[in-house]
C-alpha cells in the first residue's frame, strides 16, 4: 500500500498513542487542525483533546511544559511548527531537556520527542526552510534522528517515543509527500544505525533526511558516468554511526557528505573530521561536502541555486575521483 512519509508519521503517532496512554501530542495547531502539514490529523478526534491538544503560541512554553509532563510520567511528543521557530525554546532544550538526566544522575528521565519539520525546497517564506540539526547534534544529551523514507519515519518515530532519552526528531518536510509501497506497522533498523541504501565501490556518499532521495538520484545518474556510488543514509545525527561511516570509506577510499545546512560547522564537518581521523590511511582524497552555502537560507526563487542537488553531488564526486 502506498504510504507517504507524513502518513507514516501520523500512523506512528496513532499507534504509539494506542499502545501507551502516557503518550501525548501537543503544539500549535496540532489538535483541531491536525497540523499545518496534517501530520497529526485525526489524533485529537481519536484520542480526545486531553491527549492531543493545541497550545498557546509559545515555543519555550511548549517545551518547558513538556519537560514538566515528562517529569510527571508522561511521554510528551510536542511539535515545533517549523524549524525556524524552534529557537525561542533553545534555552529549555539546551539547558534543561538535554541536561536534566545528567544533572540528576539519571534519576530524572525526560522521554520527550520533539517533532520538527525541517529543510527547504518547498518554496516557502523565511524561517520555514531551515536545517538546524547541527545545533542539536552539538548539544550533549540530545539524540537527533532524521528519517529519509516513509518506513523509517514510522519505525524511527516509534523508537524515539519508546526511548527514555530526549529526542529531536527532524522530519524532512519536502519529503512529506514522498510515497513508498509498504505495510505499516514496520520496523526498520534501530534508529542510531546508519544504513547503506545503495552499495558502491568508488565513492561513499553520506546523507540524511531530505538529501537521501537526492543522493540516490545522484547515484543513478553517476552510474551512467561509470561511477559506483555507495549511498549511506545516516538516520542518526547524534549519535553518529561512526563504525558504519568508517567501514564504508575503508571500502571506497572517497567520501562526499551531502546536507542542506550551511557548510561551516554543519554535520559534514564532524563527519569529515571523524573519517580523516579513523580512516586516515584509506583516504584517496579529502572528504568533500556538498552543502548549502555559508549564507542565510535563500529566498524561494533562488532556492534551486543554493540547495545541493544531483549536479552538485556529481561535481564533487568527480572532484574526489580526480585525486
Amino acid at each position: 500500500m502506498a504510504v507517504t512519509l507524513a502518513q507514516a508519521i501520523n500512523q506512528a503517532l496513532h499507534d504509539a498513542m494506542t499502545e501507551d496512554e502516557r503518550v501525548l501530542v501537543f503544539g500549535e495547531d496540532v489538535g483541531k487542525l491536525g497540523g499545518v502539514f496534517r501530520v497529526t490529523d485525526k489524533l485529537q478526534e481519536t484520542f480526545s483533546e486531553a491527549r492531543c491538544f493545541d497550545t498557546p503560541l509559545a515555543e519555550s512554553g511548549i517545551i518547558g511544559t513538556a519537560i514538566g509532563l515528562a517529569m510527571y510520567g508522561y511521554r510528551p511528543v510536542p511539535e515545533m511548527q517549523f524549524d525556524g521557530f524552534t529557537y525561542p525554546a533553545f534555552e529549555q532544550i539546551v539547558s534543561h531537556l538535554a541536561k536534566m538526566p545528567n544533572r540528576s544522575r539519571g534519576t530524572v528521565k525526560l522521554p520527550v520527542t520533539i517533532r520538527i519539520p525541517y529543510g527547504g525546497g518547498i518554496g516557502a517564506v523565511e524561517h520555514h526552510s531551515e536545517s538546524p540539526e547541527a545545533y542539536w547534534a552539538h548539544t550533549q544529551g540530545l539524540k537527533v534522528f532524521t528519517p529519509g523514507t516513509p518506513d523509517d519515519a514510522y519505525s524511527m518515530m516509534r523508537a524515539a517515543i519508546a526511548m527514555d532519552d530526549p529526542v529531536i526528531f527532524l522530519e524532512p518536510k519536502r519529503r512529506y509527500w514522498m510515497k513508498s509501497e509498504t505495510e505499516l506497522p514496520v520496523q526498520t533498523e534501530a534508529p542510531h544505525r546508519a544504513v547503506v541504501r545503495r552499495e558502491g565501490t568508488d565513492v561513499s556518499v553520506f546523507c540524511y533526511g531530505p538529501m537521501v532521495r537526492t543522493a540516490m538520484e545522484a547515484a543513478e545518474a553517476a552510474a551512467d558516468e561509470g561511477w559506483s556510488l555507495e549511498v549511506v543514509d545516516l538516520r542518526s545525527l547524534n549519535p553518529l554511526d561512526t563504525p558504519t561511516i568508517v567501514a564504508s570509506v575503508q571500502r571506497t577510499g572517497r567520501a562526499v557528505v551531502v546536507h542542506e545546512a550551511a557548510q561551516t560547522l554543519g554535520m559534514g564537518a564532524e563527519i569529515a573530521a571523524r573519517i580523516q581521523e579513523r580512516a586516515f590511511y584509506s583516504l584517496e582524497a579529502p572528504v568533500l561536502r556538498a552543502t548549502g552555502y555559508d549564507t542565510p537560507y535563500p529566498p524561494a526563487k533562488l532556492e534551486e541555486f543554493w540547495l545541493p542537488d544531483v549536479d552538485r553531488i556529481l561535481d564533487l564526486v568527480e572532484r574526489t575521483l580526480a585525486y
Partner: protein, 76 residues
C-alpha cells in the same frame, strides 16, 4: 570496527605518500601491503618501487584486516 571484508582491501597510505606515488608513477596497488604497521605503504616503499626494487613484501593474501586507526582519546 575490525570486521574482515570479503572484498580486497584498498592500499593504505597517508596522503603525502599517495601524492609521492602519483608523482613517481607508482601504483600503490602494485606494492601493497607496505612495510608500515598493518601494511601501510611508506615513502620508502614507494621510492623502492619507483627505482625498480622491492621494498615491501609481496601481497600474500587476497584479504586482510584493514589497519584500524588508533583509538581516539579526546571525546567519547
Amino acid at each position: 570496527d575490525g570486521q574482515a571484508q570479503a572484498a580486497p582491501v584498498r592500499p593504505l597510505a597517508k596522503p603525502p605518500v599517495r601524492k609521492l606515488a602519483k608523482d613517481l608513477g607508482v601504483d600503490l596497488a602494485d606494492i601493497a601491503p607496505g612495510s608500515g604497521p598493518e601494511g601501510v605503504i611508506t615513502r620508502e616503499d614507494v621510492h623502492a618501487a619507483a627505482s625498480g626494487g622491492q621494498g615491501a613484501q609481496a601481497t600474500a593474501a587476497a584479504t586482510q584486516t584493514p589497519a584500524s586507526a588508533p583509538a581516539p582519546t579526546a571525546g567519547v
